[in-house]
């Protein structure tokens, strides 16, 4: 199977700190893959490099058969590669429903259609997705009034609204009430299964990622330390050392 996302030998340093060193990975279309590693190992930096947040120092990134190494954030997003943020970013002054309505696929915001009101179909879809993540009752509240965990859910729903081909999720369960994590994981699987969205998930929590991903890459100190099926990675001594050494 040809990978939808292909990262080859990517390097990125900030001044003296090498955040990513010769990282290569590939994610096949339609799968859920995981990216793990101790804090500061360069996971978020890799996401930022992929989506065009900053230039990379070397290597190449391909998405859906296209070279995207030098494209910028909005262009890459319009190709159907979206990301969520570790610190969670939503439009705080707008209601949840408005947050959803402006997250329609960018192709729907053309020269003329942008001046129209959102269509009834879009409103229905927005409400359905809010229902899907359990925020329907709060749809008329400003996003900034939600709790951190709810904002994460809203951000996830916004990403779904945009119908991406692939979604990069940066620690989707961090800050979410532990009793709700299983429900969230089920929704991630549903998004993958029902909407056909390829997922690459950064996760700090080993237990969670083992349940979710079918293949896992592990970063440590900016380098790719190990990769493989969850049960393989779980047993890998280097991964265990990295985690134990870091915490």
């Amino acid at each position: 199977m040809t990978p939808i996302l292909e990262v080859q030998h990517v390097r990125k340093s900030f001044g003296g700190v090498v955040a990513n060193d010769d990282v290569s990975l590939a994610v096949p279309a339609g799968k859920i893959y995981g990216l793990i590693g101790p804090n500061g190992s360069g996971k978020t930096t890799l996401f930022n490099s992929i989506v065009g947040q900053h230039p990379v120092d070397g290597g190449s990134i391909r998405f859906a058969g296209r070279e995207i190494t030098t494209l910028r954030v909005p262009q890459i997003a319009r190709l159907g590669l979206l990301r969520t943020f570790q610190q969670t970013r939503i439009y705080r002054g707008m209601t949840c429903l408005q947050n959803m309505l402006i997250s329609v696929p960018p192709a729907g915001l053309g020269w003329r259609s942008v001046y129209l009101r959102p269509s009834a179909a879009e409103e229905r879809k927005a409400e359905d997705l809010l229902q899907f993540v359990g925020l329907h009752a709060k749809r008329h509240l400003p996003g900034g009034d939600l709790s951190f965990g709810q904002q994460k859910l809203l951000e996830f729903a916004m990403a779904l609204m945009s119908q991406p081909k692939m979604l990069l999720l940066d620690e989707p369960t961090a800050g979410i009430n532990p009793t709700l994590i299983n429900g969230l994981l089920e929704r991630l699987r549903q998004a993958n299964r029902d909407f056909g969205i390829t997922l690459l998930v950064i996760e700090h929590n080993m237990r969670v990622i083992m349940q979710l991903a079918e293949y896992i890459y592990c970063l440590a100190h900016g380098e790719l330390l190990a990769e493989g099926k969850p049960e393989e990675v779980q047993k890998d001594q280097r991964v265990l050392d990295a985690y134990l050494g870091a915490t």
């Binding site: 947040q53 900053h54 910028r72 954030v73």
Partner: protein, 299 residues
């Protein structure tokens, strides 16, 4: 464009403009360094920067009228402005330090209008000078002339800047200021009273502006409306040099002084203000595009 040809015909004229530009630039550097200090430590862009310069100029002028030599007026103006800066912080600025940037810009813009119009109402719109009584140096058989006061002001500006830097490096308050600029929260945890640090920072900024204004008053003129160009100059210099880079500030300031002098000569004095404000826009837009190429923003 006639003047442009003149420049090529008479190289000594270029030398004259260059010298004048360098000498004026040191005075710009003072106000710019103050702006960088406040920006770096308090995260605030002070639009009233130029008005502090203007008030320093008036302080020197009135001291001169009272019989005090303008050079002595420089430290006195600095002290007076320190007090004013401290007071401004205690009354207004502390309320906007942690607010979003636009609030602080607008509030200090309001202060700038307030101070400018107060000066206009109290001192009148007339142009004033604090006569220093220095002569003029004639070089290269009269091809280049330098008024001694500009040389003295240049030296005094460097001295004032050096004094501020030594204060920041050596004194306890200076260390607290630098600690706060690196991480205000950590500084608070370590027991530094950041509110006091901010008051000092704003006061020191006003003082350095005051010194700069006093030098302006004795080298050129003061009037109530000279503030905004100084604010804009400081802003440009800081953008070019970055925060916390003393030599960058000095280099950018001298460069700006030279550029302004040449532009004033070539375009004519009536376009000098347009040049300053236009240059600001050009620099900003150039920075933006050069950063955008690296997928970055001016932040």
């Amino acid at each position: 464009m006639e003047n442009l040809r003149l420049l090529f015909a008479a190289p000594s004229l270029s030398l004259q403009l260059l010298l004048d530009g360098v000498l004026i630039g040191a005075i710009f550097a003072l106000a710019a360094y103050g702006m960088a200090l406040v920006w770096g430590v308090m995260g605030l862009i002070n639009v009233a920067q130029g008005e502090l310069v203007m008030l320093g100029g008036y302080a020197a002028y009135f001291l001169y009228r009272a019989g005090i030599h303008p050079l002595l007026g420089v430290p006195v103006a600095a002290i007076l402005l320190f007090i004013l800066g401290w007071a401004l912080y205690r009354v207004v600025v502390f309320r906007v330090v942690d607010k979003d940037l636009f609030i602080s810009i607008l509030a200090t813009y309001g202060l700038s209008i307030l101070l400018q119009q107060l000066a206009n109402g109290l001192f009148g719109a007339n142009v004033r000078t604090a006569e220093s009584g220095f002569g003029t140096l004639v070089l290269l058989d009269g091809a280049v002339t330098i008024s001694e006061i500009k040389l003295v002001a240049f030296a005094a500006a460097l001295l004032a800047g050096a004094a501020l830097i030594v204060f920041l490096k050596r004194s306890r308050m200076g260390q607290a200021i630098r600690a706060t600029s690196q991480n205000a929260r950590a500084a608070r945890v370590m027991g530094i009273d950041t509110d006091r640090v901010y008051a000092w920072t704003f006061g020191l900024n006003a003082a350095i502006c005051g010194a700069s204004g006093a030098l302006v008053a004795m080298t050129w003129i003061v009037h109530p409306y000279l503030g905004l160009p100084y604010t804009v100059r400081s802003f440009m210099i800081v953008i070019l040099a970055g925060l916390g880079n003393v030599f960058g500030v000095l280099a950018a300031a001298l460069g700006l002084g030279v550029a302004e002098n040449f532009a004033g000569f070539v375009l004519g004095a009536e376009y000098q203000a347009a040049f300053i404000f236009g240059l600001l826009v050009v620099i900003l837009v150039w920075r933006r595009f050069s950063l955008a190429r690296q997928r970055r923003y001016l932040t």
